[in-house]
Symmetry: C2
Subunit: 430 residues, 2 copies
């Protein structure tokens, strides 16, 4: 058995404390599985006096977090601070420069600087691992780098944000409003006080660009991703989607096409019965398409202490076993800058909800505009209002068309005097 | 970049030809991902003259398959012959003894001799890998050894035989009989001319005992597994299950309990909406429970050229990258002989279908027997027969009880003169 692998943990929040706890509790099991002991030698966090429910006896405490990277008794730095810049970035860069392996759960850091950090790691012949950065309880990065490594990937569809999935699936089950369910999510600790990072799709986009980089051998590219969140999804949309045979979920898709890579995070209508549409609550899921394997679907907890700590420790165990891997599967120097297809060149089918004044001629005007833009309407719903209201909802779906055409049509429709509020547009993924 | 990794392939059936084809077609991709070239140097199969749609130019042909293991130009032997004894076993043993890595898709071999072969491999410091032996398109072995390696596993539930799943889910969808759908499966190539290995649950049991060994650090133990197949499942059972809110699937379960490991393959009623119950067609699925991750569900193709070749090549790539792993996660010398709980000590809820003479007193007699054995009936269905028949079906479900009690009760019930055929008993997994 080799000498013990010595770990420094930076950040002792929920996940950090979970990592310490499991490493201490499962010493025997983990040693047997790695054929090597794993020990924590140093930690750093904001408040040395806080009780985290784990013993830090015989573990050095560093006030200066970045100093962990230079300690002689550390082989692996585990970065659980978060944020794409600042201490987290300095710590990881310094650790790699000092020849220490880095394990991180930091999706923002990898989404923004993954390519450069991977180059640093490969130059030094050490490991940079970030399993916990994407879908904690689903080891999708290892799946793509190891279990499915023989595949030429063609497409990945993921439910990558548990907060949004909780909100949408709870709205569906309970018929409650977005605002109401968001408050519940905040009370349950599933959403932050400022929930924008989750509900505006940014968190999912960080994760998606990491999966896309792995799939298509590019540098992670957060800038080119089309991102739309779920703030505009109403109970009416969820009901109408159900009537049409669909469920609404916030999804991330990366897909290789002839014209480049399509990268997008948005709420979409998914056919009932499709694997991704059935994912409920705070679970995450990834549907991977590859030329050899066909398709493979995986579902698990997206976040939380145990699930994320599980991912972090799996990375540590790989390092303990001496496994070597290139952070983005192929050599970092060979990663291409992704050619991202502009959103207006996408093709999709669409769901549109229009709140219109309930008088004659509206439908005629609408169909004239769609027809003028060569957009073919696939289905149409208008229910007689149950009570006297200001207007009525018209819901229609289109056949596949160009996003550009749809934008032009909606611009004209929005200008119609009988349209009482901005149209709600949701893409349909079959 | 290291010297190329040299592969010998034994067996050029569907999977073998798929492995050769992908290794040749994806040379550039695989080299970049392994930072090393992979080349096939030798093959062996039954018929040298057969056209397999792949080029064997510049590849040595061995008439004597076992001789592959002794070739100087071979680093890895890929065994795709099958069978727990004979050539497959000799080839793997010889290869390991000669210090060559072994990659195999042979579930019977690993289920019967996995422990001994793993010891051989570890003594020589080489790799024995068998990802393709369980659920081809689902890299569940790597998931358990790598992505989820930090977990103390508690339970695994799998749909591990695509033939059975195709038959049961097609019976459900089409309301056709077992015999009828089996014939269709044979015509489609999903079932063999002699289908017993699949439909009697033996194939699923081989796979289950490999997953169980990995989960609970034991030697694979095919002998202690309770195995029941799907021959007795009728269209009536599938209909009744639906009425009760369940679907019938052939599942494999391994679970750690206070009294030992429960290992079982049988058809079961699963609640509609549970992930495993929703698996249709020839797909396989595995639901893994671990103390850190909670639960994780994965679904993919169970067999077929591409999916199985994908698993074989993933193993080869791990070896090419120089990754090291213990075949059963912990050192082979430390694998325990599993303590398997006898089936009669299991606790389960049950579904029972009885074909009875339609006269008074039967129901009273039945309930008296269940009551005498302290078995509590949970639900009961008897439909008025649509036409004059010899007898009627009575379907009942019980609350959780001991298998032993159920057996005693059914023995008494079977002896009743009004019972017209053997009772059909199916376990309910909530």
């Amino acid at each position: 058995m080799s000498a013990p692998l010595r770990i420094a943990v930076a950040g002792l929040g929920t996940v950090g404390a979970g990592v310490v706890e499991i490493l201490q509790r499962q010493t025997t099991l983990l040693s047997a599985r790695c054929n090597r002991d794993i020990m924590i030698t140093a930690v750093s966090a904001r408040d040395a006096s806080r009780d985290r429910g784990v013993s830090l006896a015989n573990i050095a405490w560093e006030e200066n977090t970045v100093a962990l990277a230079s300690r002689k008794d550390v082989d692996v730095v585990v970065e659980l601070i978060g944020g794409s810049e600042g201490v987290a970035k300095s710590l990881c860069e310094t650790a790699l420069a000092q020849g220490k392996h880095v394990v991180t759960a930091n999706k923002a850091l990898i989404a923004h600087h993954g390519g450069a950090l991977a180059k640093l790691a490969e130059q030094r012949g050490i490991q940079l691992m970030f399993e916990a950065a994407v879908a904690g309880g689903i080891p999708v990065i290892k799946l793509m780098k190891q279990g499915l490594a023989a595949n030429n990937y063609t497409k990945i569809v993921g439910i990558l944000n548990g907060t949004c999935n909780f909100i949408l699936s709870t709205m569906e089950r309970t018929r409650r409003s977005f605002e109401d369910v968001l408050s519940e999510a905040q009370a349950l600790g599933y959403a932050e006080a400022d929930p924008s990072f989750d509900i505006d799709g940014v968190d999912a986009a960080h994760k998606l660009c990491i999966l896309s980089a792995l799939a298509f051998s590019t540098t992670p590219a957060i800038d080119g991703i089309t991102i739309e969140g779920i703030r505009n999804i109403s109970a009416a949309d969820i009901l109408a989607a159900e009537e049409l045979g669909y469920r609404i979920r916030l999804i991330g898709i990366t897909e290789r096409t002839d014209r480049g890579i399509e990268l997008r995070v948005y709420p979409a209508l998914l056919p009932e019965g499709s694997p991704v549409s059935e994912v409920d609550g705070v679970y995450n899921a990834v549907h991977i398409f590859g030329d050899a394997v066909g398709d493979m679907f995986i579902e698990g907890r997206g976040a939380g202490r145990g699930a994320t700590a599980s991912a972090v420790i799996a990375d540590i165990m790989e390092i303990a076993r001496g496994d070597v891997s290139q952070p983005f599967l192929v050599p970092a120097a060979s990663l291409a800058t992704p050619v991202i297809v502009p959103m207006e060149d996408y093709e999709s089918a669409y769901y549109v909800r229009l709140h219109v004044a309930d008088h004659s001629g509206v439908l005629f005007a609408l169909t004239r505009i769609f027809s003028a833009h060569d957009i073919s309407v696939a289905s149409f719903i208008q229910h007689a209002p149950k009570e006297a209201t200001h207007g009525v909802d018209i819901i229609l779906t289109t056949h596949t068309t160009l996003e550009k055409r749809m934008n032009h049509a909606l611009r004209e429709i929005s200008a119609m005097p009988s349209i009482l509020s901005s149209p709600c547009l949701i893409r349909i993924e079959e």
